[in-house]
Amino acid sequence: MRAVVVGAGAVGVRAARHLLFLGDVEALVVIDPRARRLEAVVESLGPPATAGTNAAGAFDGADVVVLCAPTGHQEAAESALERGASVVSVADDVATVRSLLSLDPEARERGRHVVVGAGFAPGLSCLLAAHAARSFEAVEEIHVAKVGTGGPACAQQHHRAVRGPAVESRGGVWQQRRGGSGRALIWFPDPICGVDCYRAALADPVLLALAFPGAERVSARVGASRRDRLTARLPMMRRPHPEGALGAIRVEVRGRQGVVHHDRVLGAVDRPAAAAGAVAAVAARWAVDGRLVRPGAAGLATLAEPGPFLAALAERGVKAAVFEGAGATSSTPVVTISEE
């Protein structure tokens, strides 16, 4: 496999390392505009990793291009498709995700994959939703919540997301809601536990509504502090951290099995950048190995078999959890405090 990783940040480095661990990599080109950082990353990865400077030239002969840079995903994806490579993007903002999804006809025509939102959330969140959905004949609602950020670009995206507007699918109709509204106390797996989460401009509903067109409601919330909400409409007050602390995802899927309506709650805890790197690397490996369900541009809930993909992630240290116990199937472990 010949792979190109664009972006040597918190996610890109992890994705490159996981790709090498997954094996059978003839060539791995890492591209980043920061020359010193790129040199250090390539040196730490070792052969067959090499530094690339010109993105378009580096895509020639590549089997897969993993896009982990903060911007430029659509242009890079178009360029990679033109050169016959599949694309894996960790983009998590709504506009970029929608623009990448618009490449579906071209990707199908070329018989290549464009895996959109192959990170922590969207990405791991989509896999958890798809896995939970397998418990139902019909999926009625999907609600995603996440807390935590990866590298600086992820922190900036979190800041923009809280500003909104949030997008939610209700009965197949897209609704815009105010970012930072709809506070709900969400209980994540230990040690994150209870976090106040709010509506935000998150891309998970865009990908999940595509994968589950019959779902009546698809929404997403993000954990945010009062300071996050207060300053969301201002520029960031201080430089974002190099990498955030532990984060978590919680996905609740409600559906029908026979005549019984119930729900299933899955979650995961990890450093968001580390988990995103693992998801992107496994998606790239699967794209090259022909293990994805179909060619085209879509999220992992559409393109991947969730169980085996989550098993592959578990081997890379990213483990999923299920909420169970008294009350887990009839009512949800979410306490909605207010609907602003």
């Binding site: 896995h131 106390l185 209980w187 797996p189 230990d190 536990c193 209870g194 976090v195 106040d196 009062r226 899955l266 979650g267 169980g307 085996p308 989550l310 098993a311 578990a314 483990k319 999923a320 959890a321 299920v322 909420f323 169970e324 116990g325 008294a326 009350g327 887990a328 472990p333 306490v335």
Partner: protein, 45 residues
């Protein structure tokens, strides 16, 4: 003197408002039922 009194009053009011915001809620309530467990390999088939 009146300016000092006004400033002191403003500070007290700001402090009360901040305390109201800070202590409005006691924080998350732990789950009373159920819990999380890792998905096993057979569950991921």
């Amino acid at each position: 003197m009146s300016a000092i009194r006004r400033a002191a009053l403003a500070l007290v009011l700001a402090g009360l408002a901040a305390a109201g915001v800070r202590f409005r809620r006691g924080g998350p309530v732990p789950l009373q039922q159920g819990g999380w467990r890792e998905l096993s390999r057979p569950e991921l088939k």
